[in-house]
Symmetry: C3
Subunit: 268 residues, 3 copies
Amino acid sequence: MVERNELQVWAAVEAIRQRRPVVHNITNFVVMNTTANALLALGASPVMAHAEEEMADMVDIASALVINLGTLSKVWVSAMFKAAERAATRGIPIVLDPVGAGASRYRTDTACELATATPPTIIRGNASEIMALCGDHTRTKGVDSTEASRDALAAAHTLHASLGSVVCVSGETDYIVGGQKTFRIANGHPMMTRVTGLGCTATALCGAFAAVTLDPAQAAAQAMAVMGIAGEMAAEKAEGPGTLQLHFLDALYRLTKADVSQRLRLEC
Amino acid sequence: MVERNELQVWAAVEAIRQRRPVVHNITNFVVMNTTANALLALGASPVMAHAEEEMADMVDIASALVINLGTLSKVWVSAMFKAAERAATRGIPIVLDPVGAGASRYRTDTACELATATPPTIIRGNASEIMALCGDHTRTKGVDSTEASRDALAAAHTLHASLGSVVCVSGETDYIVGGQKTFRIANGHPMMTRVTGLGCTATALCGAFAAVTLDPAQAAAQAMAVMGIAGEMAAEKAEGPGTLQLHFLDALYRLTKADVSQRLRLEC
Amino acid sequence: MVERNELQVWAAVEAIRQRRPVVHNITNFVVMNTTANALLALGASPVMAHAEEEMADMVDIASALVINLGTLSKVWVSAMFKAAERAATRGIPIVLDPVGAGASRYRTDTACELATATPPTIIRGNASEIMALCGDHTRTKGVDSTEASRDALAAAHTLHASLGSVVCVSGETDYIVGGQKTFRIANGHPMMTRVTGLGCTATALCGAFAAVTLDPAQAAAQAMAVMGIAGEMAAEKAEGPGTLQLHFLDALYRLTKADVSQRLRLEC
C-alpha cells in the first residue's frame, strides 16, 4: 500500500471546486444529463455541444475535452475529429471513451481512427472495449463488458505503448496504465453497474481532474477514486439503482477530505 | 379471475435476471436514460444505438429490438427500417411504440409504414395512438391520450387482424389483444402519468420480456404487470412524480415473487 | 413591496392544472427529460419534437412554443425557424432560451437571427446570454453566466425596445423587463445552479404560464416565482443537487396556495 495521499485526490477535488474548469463534452444522448450533473456536483462547469460550426469556439473556452462514442453517428464523429484536433493544438487534455467498441465494426473503427489521428491524453473503457481497441475481437455483449478488467491489462499496455495515452480499464478493480507505475483502485460498489452512464460519468470526471492535474495517470486515478468513493457512499443510502444515482450526485457534492482518506483503496 | 401464475410473471423476471438479454433500442431523446435504467434495474442489458452503419451489428447481438418514434426524424426512421428488417430476418421479437401517432401526419404515416413493412411482434401505445394507427383520426392532444384504453379495443383487434401483431393498449387498465384471449391488467397508479417516459419504459420492458417469453401476448402482459406493480410500490413511497421515478427503478430492482403474487391484478 | 397577488401566481398554477396546455418544446438533449418532467409535474402537457416534417402539425396543437438553443445544429435550427414562423401565424406565445449565447459565434448569431426573424414573446437567459444578444461580447464561461443578473438590465431594456419581447434575466435575483414595470423575483436557492437544466426548465415553465396568462411579463414572473419557490422547498429537503432535482419535481406537483403566498418574494 503506497502513501494514500500520493494521488493528492483531495487537493485535486479542491482545485476543481475553486477553479470550476470548463469541460467540453461530445457525448451520447443517454448520459448527457447524468454526466453534466456529475460534473456540476463535483464543481466543474460542463459544456455539451456538438455542432461543427462551434467546435473551435467551444474547445477554446474549455480546459479539457471529453469524447464519448456512446451514440455515435457520421455528423457527430466529424465534430469529434474537429474538436480533438483543436484540443491538441491548444494543448488541453483529451479524454476518449470508446463506448461499445467491439460491439460493432463502426464503433471499433471510429474509436481506433480517433485515437490514432489525435492520441488521447486518457482512454477510459471497460475490459471489452480496451481489448477491442487493440484488435482483440473477443466476445462483446452490447455495451457491458464480458471480461474482468484484469484481463485487459496486456491490451492497456499495448495501447499505451503505441499511442502514449494513459489507459484506464474500469471494472471491479480499476487499472490505470501509463505512468511510472500502474494504479489499482478498488473502490466502488456492484450496484453501480445497474445505473446507466456511470462509466461515461467516470470518463467525464477524468476530464475534470485532467484539467487541474498535470500528470494524466494521476488525474485518471483521482477520477476513478472519487467515482468509487462516491458510489460507495451512495450505495450505503440507496435502496436500488434509482436512488443510488441521486445519492451519488449528492456524495460528489458533499465529498470531504475525511471521506477520501477513510475510504481510498489504492495500490500501485 | 384466472390463475394468477398463468402469466408466469415471476418466472420471466427470473429469466431476465439470469440471462440478461441484450435489448437494442432505437428510441427517443427524452426517455433514453429512463428506459436504459429501467432495463438495467430489471436485469436486462440495454443497447441504445441508431447509426445505420452499425444497425446490422447491433441487431445481431440483441435478443429483442425496440423501436420508439418519440423524437423521430428522417435519418433515424431510416435506421429503424433497417433494424426492423434485420430483426425479422434473425427472428428476434420487434416491439413498436408509435409515440404521438395521430398528433402529426408524419408520425402516423411513419408508424403505419414501419408496421406494414415489418409487422412488429408487439405494438404498445395509448388509446389515441392505437386508434390513429387504424386510421381513426380522433382528437389527439400531443403525446398524451385523449381516450380511455377501453375505447381502443376495436382498433386493437383490427390491427391484430391485419398485421398479426399483439397489440397492447395501455391506460388505467391495460389491454393486450392478440393471443387466444385478451388480457386485462389493472395494476399501476395515476401518478405514473405525471412522469415522462413511463409509457416508453413499458415498451422497452415488453422487449425484455419478449426476449425470454415465447408467447408475445404473455410477454406483453408480463411487462405491463411488472410496470404496474413496480409503479404501485413506488407510489407508496413517493411524494410526487420526481421521487416516484427513482422508487420505480428501485422497485424493479428489488421486485420479489411475493410482490408479484400479492399485487397482480390480471383478468382475461 | 407590491400586492403579492398582483402576479396572480396561484390562479395561473390552477389554470395550468385544469387546462393542461400543450407546450411544444424544441430543446436540447441534456434537459429534455428534465423539462418534460417539470411541465408534467406542474400540470402541463409537454411535446418534444423537432422534425421539420411535423413542425406545423405540432405547433397547431400547442398553446405555446419553447425554443432552446442548448445543443443546436443546422437541422434543428431550421426546424426552430419553421416552428417560430408557424407559432407567430397562429398567435401562440413563443419563448426563446439563447443557451450559451456569447460562448460561440454560431450560438450568438443563431439566437439573434431567430429573435429578429420572429420576435419571441419572452426571451429568458442568464446575464451573459442576454448581454451577448445585445452585441455585448463580454467574457463568457461556457453556459454558466459570468455576470450578475443586475448587470444585464440595460441589455434587457435594449432588447425589449428593439424586439418588443419581454426579457427575463435569471440569476440570484430574476429580473423581468418589458411590462409597465420591471419585476424582481428573489426566490430560489444557490444549490439550484448545481443542477443542469434548471435554467432551461424555467424557460419551459415560461411557456406553460404564457399559455394561460395573457400578459407575457406576468407569465414570465409567475414562472420564475414558481421555479424559485419550488427550488426553495426542494433545497430544504435535499442533501445535494441529486436529491434536489427530484424534490423540485415533487414540489411543483404538490405546490399549494399557501406555499406561494408564504414564500413569494416579489418586488417591482
